[in-house]
C-alpha cells in the first residue's frame, strides 16, 4: 500500500510539486492578509486576475505560462488599484468597492473567454482550467515559473520581516517612524497578488480565495506568536496541497484544486474546535475545570471563615451551614475536596478540614486576592 502510494509517476510528481508550491506561498501570504483584515481582498484579486489571463492569451495566442502569469498579475494589481480609487474618490465603502471590482473584472474575463472559444486556436482548451482549476494541465514549465515566484515571496518575507510585522500591526506608528508605509503596503500587496496568481491554474479563480483565508485562520488558532502563525500557515497550505493531490489521485473523479480546498477547510474546522486556548472544545473543558476549581476554593474559604469562630479549626460543620452556592454543586465540590484529602467527612452531613486542607485554605486566603495589575 505504502509502496504503491509513493510510487510516483511523472505527472503525479509535477502535480504534487505544483500543489506544494501553491500551498506554501498562499499559506505564507494568507497570514498577512488575514492579520491585516484583508481576507476579502484575496477574493477580489483572484477574480480580477482572470481578464488578464484571457487578454494575455489573446495577445500571444499561446499558453506561455510566464505570459499568462504576468497578464494575471497586472490585471489583479489593477483591480486592487481600482478598489483604492473607488474608496478614496467616491463615498462608497470597501465592501461595495470589492463587489464592483470583482464582478466587473470577472465579467470581462468571461466575455473574453467566450470570444476565445470561437477562435480556431488549438491551445484554448486549457484556459477553462483557470475558472475551477485543473491540476492535470500543469506542465513542467509552469512549475518553474511557480517556483521562481514562490522563492521571491519567501525571500521578501524574510528580508522585510520586521517591516511587514509593524505594517500589519500599526501602520500609523510605522509612518511616524519615517518608514514609507504606502510603498511597503504596495510591496506586500504585490506579493499577495503573486501568491494568488500562482495558484489560479490549479485551484481556479473561484476557489482561490479560500486558500488566502483558510491556512491562516487555522494557524492563528494554534499559536499567538507571529512567526509561528506565518510558518504554520505555510505548512497547513502545503500539507493541504499534498494531501489534496493524493486524494484526488487515488479516488477517481475528484479534481485536485477543489480537493485541496476541501482539505484546508477541514483544517480550519478541526482548528476551530480543538486548538488549545482558542478552540471551542478546549474552552468548554477549561471553563468546566476552572468553574469546579473555583467552587472548591470557595468552599475552602467558607470553611476557613467558619473555623475562625471556633477554637478548634478542625471542628466539623453541616454542609448546609457552609454552602452558599447551592446544595448540588456544593456537595460535588466537597466530594472532590475529600478525594484530594483536603476535607474529611466523619459522619452524615458533617464536614471539616484535614490538616492539609487547613493549610491550603490559609495559603489561598493569602494569595487569592493579591492584585495582578502592575503598579
Amino acid at each position: 500500500m505504502f509502496v504503491d502510494l509513493f510510487h510516483f509517476n511523472y505527472t503525479l510528481g509535477v502535480v504534487m510539486s505544483g500543489a506544494f508550491i501553491l500551498g506554501i506561498s498562499s499559506g505564507l501570504l494568507s497570514s498577512f492578509a488575514v492579520l491585516r483584515q484583508q481576507s476579502l481582498l484575496g477574493d477580489v484579486i483572484s477574480h480580477a486576475a482572470f481578464p488578464g489571463i484571457t487578454l494575455a492569451f489573446l495577445w500571444m495566442m499561446a499558453k506561455d505560462p510566464l505570459g499568462l502569469f504576468l497578464g494575471a498579475i497586472i490585471s489583479g494589481w489593477l483591480g486592487t488599484l481600482f478598489v483604492h480609487a473607488i474608496v478614496r474618490y467616491t463615498s462608497l465603502t470597501h465592501d461595495a468597492a470589492f463587489g464592483i471590482v470583482l464582478s466587473v473584472f470577472f465579467g470581462l474575463g468571461i466575455v473574453l473567454l467566450s470570444y476565445i472559444q470561437q477562435t480556431p486556436s488549438s491551445e484554448k482548451a486549457g484556459l477553462n482550467s483557470f475558472l475551477f482549476g485543473s491540476a492535470s494541465t500543469i506542465l513542467f514549465q509552469d512549475l518553474i515559473t511557480m517556483g521562481v515566484f514562490c522563492l521571491i515571496i519567501i525571500i521578501f518575507i524574510i528580508l522585510f520581516w520586521k517591516e511587514f510585522k509593524l505594517l500589519a500591526f500599526d501602520p500609523n506608528f510605522m509612518n511616524s517612524l519615517g518608514f514609507p508605509v504606502v510603498k511597503l503596503d504596495i510591496l506586500l500587496t504585490m506579493l499577495l497578488v503573486m501568491a494568488i496568481v500562482l495558484g489560479l491554474q490549479m485551484v481556479g479563480v473561484v476557489l482561490m480565495s479560500a486558500m488566502m483565508i483558510a491556512p491562516a485562520a487555522a494557524a492563528r488558532q494554534w499559536t499567538s506568536h507571529l512567526g509561528f502563525t506565518v510558518l504554520l500557515s505555510g505548512f497547513f497550505g502545503l500539507l493541504a496541497g499534498v494531501i489534496g493531490t493524493l486524494f484526488s489521485n487515488y479516488i477517481p473523479h475528484l479534481s485536485t484544486g477543489p480537493m485541496i480546498v476541501v482539505v484546508v477547510s477541514l483544517f480550519v474546522i478541526v482548528s476551530l474546535l480543538f486548538a488549545p486556548h482558542r478552540g471551542l472544545i478546549w474552552n468548554w473543558i477549561q471553563t468546566y475545570y476552572y468553574r469546579s476549581n473555583i467552587r472548591a476554593n470557595s468552599m475552602l474559604m467558607n470553611m476557613l471563615l467558619f473555623s475562625e469562630t471556633q477554637t478548634d479549626p478542625y471542628h466539623c460543620h453541616q454542609l448546609s451551614a457552609l454552602s452558599a452556592i447551592g446544595r448540588g454543586p456544593a456537595l460535588r465540590a466537597m466530594h472532590e475536596l475529600k478525594r484530594q484529602q483536603f476535607v474529611r467527612n466523619p459522619e452524615g452531613d458533617l464536614w471539616g478540614f484535614t490538616k492539609r486542607g487547613y493549610q491550603k485554605a490559609q495559603r489561598l486566603q493569602a494569595t487569592l486576592f493579591k492584585d495582578d495589575h502592575g503598579y
Binding site: 492579520l35 522585510f160 510585522k165 500591526f169 510605522m174 509612518n175 499567538s224 507571529l226 502592575g374 503598579y375
Partner: protein, 254 residues
C-alpha cells in the same frame, strides 16, 4: 505672553490649515511650543486634536502652512519624535506579546532590515519596568486589560528615546492609580527637558498636570501657560453650546 525665540522652541507651526476633502478641520493654526514643557491640547470631539498631532508629525499633508521641528523639516527629525497613538487604532488580537510591541519603538533607530539586538531588548524591558508592566512582558496582547494596553503603548513611546513626544489621549480608560503613574512619567520626561504634547479631555486635572495648553476647536481659541489661558470665557468659546448643555442642570446665573 512674551514672544518666544525660534531656537527656544521644539515645534513651530505657522498658518496650518488641514482639510479632509473640502471640509477644513484645522483652520490657520499658529503654535510655538517651547522646549521642556508639558502641553495639553484640549477641545471637544471632532475639534481636530488628533489631526493636529498627525499633521505636525507629517502623517497628514496640510492644505496650507508649514511645520518645523527643532528648526528642521519633520522628515529630518523622525528619530527625535515619539508617538503614542490612541489605543483603539490597532487590533489587540494581533498574535504577539507585550515585549514585542514595545520593541517596535526601536525600529526607527534600527532602520531597514536590521533586527532588534540584545541591547534593544534590554531597553524595552526597562521601559516595561518603568510603566510597571515588567511581569507582563510575555503576556499575549489579547490578554491585556485596556489600561495595560495603554501602558504598553506608553512603554513603546518611551523606548523611542525621543526629545519630543506626542501622546493621543493616554489617560482614556485607565484607573486613577495608573493615571497618576503615567503623569509622573510624563513630568519626569519634561524634567529631562523633553517636550511632551498630550491630547487631554479632563478640564479638572488640566492645571495640575500641564504647564501649557492649547484650546482647539477647528481654530485655535487660546494658547499659552495654563493659568493665563484657562478662563471661563475661553472655555465657553471652545466648547460653545455644548458646555452650556453640560452645565444645564446646575443653577445657571448669567
Amino acid at each position: 505672553m512674551k514672544d518666544l525665540l525660534d531656537d527656544e522652541c521644539s515645534v513651530i507651526v505657522q498658518d496650518l490649515t488641514v482639510a479632509y476633502k473640502e471640509k477644513p478641520v484645522l483652520w490657520d493654526i499658529d503654535l510655538k511650543i517651547p522646549k521642556g514643557v508639558l502641553l495639553a491640547i484640549v477641545g471637544p470631539n471632532g475639534a481636530g486634536k488628533t489631526t493636529l498631532l498627525r499633521s505636525i508629525m507629517g502623517l497628514i499633508k496640510p492644505a496650507a502652512g508649514n511645520v518645523s521641528i527643532f528648526g528642521q523639516s519633520i522628515k529630518k527629525q523622525k528619530n527625535t519624535i515619539g508617538y503614542m497613538p490612541q489605543r483603539g487604532s490597532v487590533d489587540w488580537d494581533f498574535p504577539t506579546d507585550a515585549l514585542d510591541v514595545v520593541m517596535m519603538g526601536r525600529y526607527g533607530h534600527l532602520g531597514w532590515f536590521r533586527r532588534p539586538t540584545k541591547a534593544d531588548k534590554k531597553l524595552a524591558l526597562d521601559a516595561l519596568d518603568r510603566v510597571g508592566m515588567l511581569d507582563f512582558s510575555d503576556r499575549q496582547l489579547n490578554q491585556l486589560s485596556g489600561g495595560q494596553q495603554q501602558r504598553v503603548f506608553l512603554a513603546r513611546a518611551l523606548v523611542q528615546d525621543a526629545d519630543l513626544y506626542f501622546m493621543d489621549e493616554p489617560f482614556v480608560g485607565v484607573d486613577a492609580v495608573t493615571e497618576q503613574a503615567i503623569i509622573g512619567l510624563l513630568k519626569e520626561l519634561r524634567n529631562q527637558s523633553k517636550t511632551v504634547v498630550v491630547v487631554h479631555h479632563d478640564l479638572q486635572t488640566l492645571s495640575d498636570y500641564f504647564d501649557w495648553v492649547s484650546l482647539l476647536n477647528v481654530r485655535q481659541i487660546a494658547y499659552g501657560p495654563v493659568k493665563d489661558v484657562l478662563t471661563n470665557e475661553n472655555l465657553r468659546t471652545t466648547y460653545g453650546g455644548r458646555r452650556a448643555f453640560l452645565m444645564a442642570n446646575q443653577p445657571f446665573v448669567d
